[in-house]
Subunit: 421 residues, 2 copies
């Protein structure tokens, strides 16, 4: 019997904001965070004085070595007028801001603070693809990065293991990609707000304009099979299996449950926060599952008293298409080896029984690593409040949504469950 | 009237360990953390199963860019057998592990965990002095580092401002250095366990052995005035005003107050935890004070109900000699402009009324940046439990001690008060 974690004091989300994700060479981390912060302020229905914020937690991974500026807690604190109040940076590679969210929850649940801002930011596009690949590999464990693994290679190895164990193949990964792009086409903040059909049309139009041979594909899978349109990166990971390099910021305002209604009539309550750590591929008995995700799920389900079947929709960390399959199994949404079939059958579509990554996911919404964790929770916020616009999950009374964030090759995982009451 | 912060649940320290600090080119971060972890385990009087640790918070600043390995939470989690349980890295430049300590306190006070390991580690000596100076400058705000400031220059500017405002001079800084070295000579874990007199003797002996002209200094200040022995770094900061480049690790076991006596009959209780952020020198109205330290002090005094005069001794962040003077004033131990006189009068000596940096401080104990915050609390632990050996503060019933940790140029500050009951 697992220990059931409890918080001494409830915590709620009362405001949320997210910048557009994309490659913005003319914007820096402060611009990106400010964009999210302004939207967060505007989202608080009953108004709010930002001077009431008592502390900041900020997730960031790469700014130290990509833009040669560290110590981002006080920089963002200064930006939003928080200084001299505390600002703490958390880092768990691509899960950095989900950790910030969790520390914000603890800081309020501890009784020390009542109103805490949590956020994340990342500024990646000023580096070349090669520099980003090498830099992000700092998040692998020493036995991986130092033997030459970068992330597409790592997830290529996981995909190969998954194929071998369960009989899946590249065609199944394409189902993930097609679904993500379909969702992203309805998300104006996505880096690639295009369905695969949109991409096919754009490529055709471009060829026509340039007077080049006009390509034709019978359907989306034909497009994804075409090595010209979708070249291999690290087999079986092709271009459309991989998330992009992104810039972006996101933030949320957390408050003690008992004062949540002072900010909005529609707060979201934090009913489960789980986290786990993992050893890396060299020590994994099975490459088709991640122990850190399972620990995060155990903690979050244990705290909430909920079961996987109670979660109505979830964002999961699809840095690569294969990751989505592995996570939806580890989180208990589908049985081991059944994830790829569930996607094939449309069960994870926006209008299916278990929508996954309605935002478009990291693949299409973008993956500014330090902003991603709270960016995922931003989608949960939007869906649970019925504010997701064209991509709103249809025909459901949404009450419980979740987000799963991964750092490294399974080194850090979080799972967070939000409820609308 | 300031808000009085409270924790919903008390938290205690029941074990502590610290590696020797120094330059260890043959040791990596895992070696250094393991050294601290083993001592922590041995320090728990009533025994303890490390499998009972529920989560880890780890402070580190430079490993990403100095040794090209990031994402240290899961690496240390794996090292100590914690995986798949959670591991979170905190970063606030040189205050990184004081932040880890604080998050560990919140995680337990929130009710979520009962037993949490907090620690810090840093591996700096594999880089040249120039690389370290440039790398650490990532912790300055953009308006400082990018105009060419490195840390000796920043603190040189603070010293100049202090001299100008209060009429102090270099001779007063020397009093800080002489005291720190005197304390460090009694600390076997210090990087420089030598008094200034020891240094004078060693230099004399070395000259004799090498057949070189044998230097003579009338007293310690004569040695510190000699530009051959104590060259200028960034005026008025000379070599003996500056902390060294160091490697080291430190950790502490935190538990819920109600179970503390299961681990030891002599736990220390966390009665004050304060933190603040600052904007940097460009925005400071007065360079002789730090708003982040004052906010940290307000929070910690407010929570504890204690006043500065209730603190019996303190470690403070003396990355440079001038920093010690500024901090002992900002923390309220001495009035503004009186710190340098207090040191001159011997009030901050080990046998004085307000001992400061009995460990030898960062200047002499060493400053492996991510390990420093918990390394300071390790000294408080040793002194409060009467285990500080030759450097034990004499003739006092020690009940309340504190530690002040600084990151950057005042960007992040913490102040932590521990009590023995």
């Amino acid at each position: 019997m697992k220990k059931k974690h409890k918080l001494a004091r409830g915590v709620a989300v009362v405001g949320a904001g997210m910048s557009k994700f994309g490659m913005f060479k003319d914007k820096d981390s402060k611009d990106l965070f400010a964009e999210a912060f302004r939207e967060m302020l505007a989202s608080i229905d009953k108004g709010f004085d930002p001077n009431d914020i008592e502390a900041l937690y900020l997730g960031n991974f790469t700014n130290d070595f990509f833009i040669h500026q560290g110590h981002w807690g006080p920089i963002i604190s200064d930006l939003i007028g928080l200084a001299p109040k505390p600002a703490t940076r958390t880092e768990g590679a691509c899960a950095s801001s989900a950790l910030a969210f969790r520390e914000g929850v603890f800081a309020i649940a501890s009784g020390f603070y009542d109103i805490v801002l949590v956020g994340g930011v990342e500024e990646m596009s000023k580096r070349t693809t090669e520099e980003v690949a090498e830099g992000l590999a700092l998040a692998t464990v020493p036995y991986e990065g130092r033997v030459g693994f970068t992330f597409p290679g790592v997830f290529g190895a996981l995909a190969t293991a998954y194929f071998h164990k369960y009989g899946a193949n590249r065609e199944h990964l394409m189902n993930v990609t097609i679904k993500s792009h379909s969702n992203a086409s309805l998300n104006p903040k996505a880096q690639f707000p295009f369905s695969i059909k949109d991409m096919m049309t754009m490529k055709t139009e471009t060829a026509k304009k340039k007077g080049k041979p006009v390509p034709h594909w019978d359907d989306e899978k034909a497009f994804l099979r075409d090595p010209g349109a979708n070249p291999v990166v690290a087999w079986p990971m092709h271009l459309y299996d991989c998330c992009p390099i992104s810039d972006g910021g996101a933030c949320m305002l957390l408050v003690a449950e008992e004062i949540a209604k002072n900010f909005t009539d529609n707060p979201l309550y934090i009913v489960g926060i789980g986290q786990g750590s993992g050893k890396g591929l060299h020590a994994a008995a099975d490459l088709t599952t991640m122990e850190a995700t399972k620990n995060a799920a155990d903690e979050a389900y244990g705290m909430s008293g909920l079961k996987p079947e109670d979660i109505q929709f979830s964002e999961v960390h699809d840095c690569f298409s294969i990751a989505e399959l592995i996570h939806i199994e580890d989180l208990g949404f589908f049985k081991p080896g059944q994830g790829y079939k569930a996607v094939e059958e449309g069960l994870t579509r926006r209008d299916g029984p278990m929508p996954i990554n309605t935002s478009g996911g990291l693949k299409c919404k973008g993956h500014p690593v330090g902003a991603t964790g709270i960016g995922q929770l931003f989608e949960v916020w939007k869906q649970l409040r019925g504010e997701a616009g064209e991509r709103q999950i249809p025909n459901k009374d949404l009450r419980i949504g979740a987000a799963h964030n991964l750092g490294g090759t399974g080194g850090t995982c979080t799972f967070t469950i939000l409820e609308r009451r």
